[in-house]
Symmetry: C2
Subunit: 121 residues, 2 copies
């Protein structure tokens, strides 16, 4: 019936920029679930420090060997890095012995965008 | 011994702007505790929606009566608003029958500042 072989796929929410600043519009229920999961990943002090160590590392990428000195055991570091990956905040790549982590810029921009617009204080 | 009656108080961390963007510097342990508590307050979808409803409400202020229609009971709304207050994200004021909520601009700016600098995606 269609005159085109191109199927229009629904826009995946994961790829859409999210969201307008909280100061300009109330969040939808779906967006609140998605964004709350990202904030949850940053709600633990050790996890937040690991995230900041990756984000601030030279070249925007860190070997787990560069960032694991945060006062907890190596398995705990791995657990937290896994949570950050699952929440879409970090990506990882194994190279030889080590796993390298990068911040997912889309996730960081989504969180920053949501909280922006409060103005300087 | 002092030639001045003015006592220099240490700068309270609560009043200091926090923090450099995660992309520019790793968080200190103390700052990570403080900022993780703020993100924790936003880690629940209903709480995040309530926060966005207050933040986006006309005049930057919302009566609890304006924002409580988020699909949970009124006591649950109260519980979440209390958590947001305790985390320093909202302030409240009772006027007559109703309590009015405002976003704390310093807290919003601290979170936005920490996540800023990721660049547009």
């Amino acid at each position: 019936m269609s005159n085109s072989s191109v199927v229009e796929l629904p826009v995946l929410q994961e790829d859409a920029p999210c969201c307008p600043p909280v100061t300009s519009a109330a969040l939808s229920e779906a967006d609140s679930v998605r964004m709350a999961a990202m904030f949850k990943a940053l709600s633990d002090p050790v996890r937040l420090r690991l995230f900041s160590r990756v984000a601030s590392h030279e070249g925007g990428e860190a070997c787990v060997c560069d960032i694991q000195d945060v006062g907890v055991s190596q398995p705990t570091v791995s657990h937290h890095l896994k949570k950050l990956r699952e929440a879409g905040l970090l990506s990882s790549e194994r190279r030889g012995t080590w796993v390298y982590y990068r911040v997912e810029p889309t996730a960081l921009a989504a969180m920053a965008g949501l909280l922006a617009g409060g103005g300087a204080v």
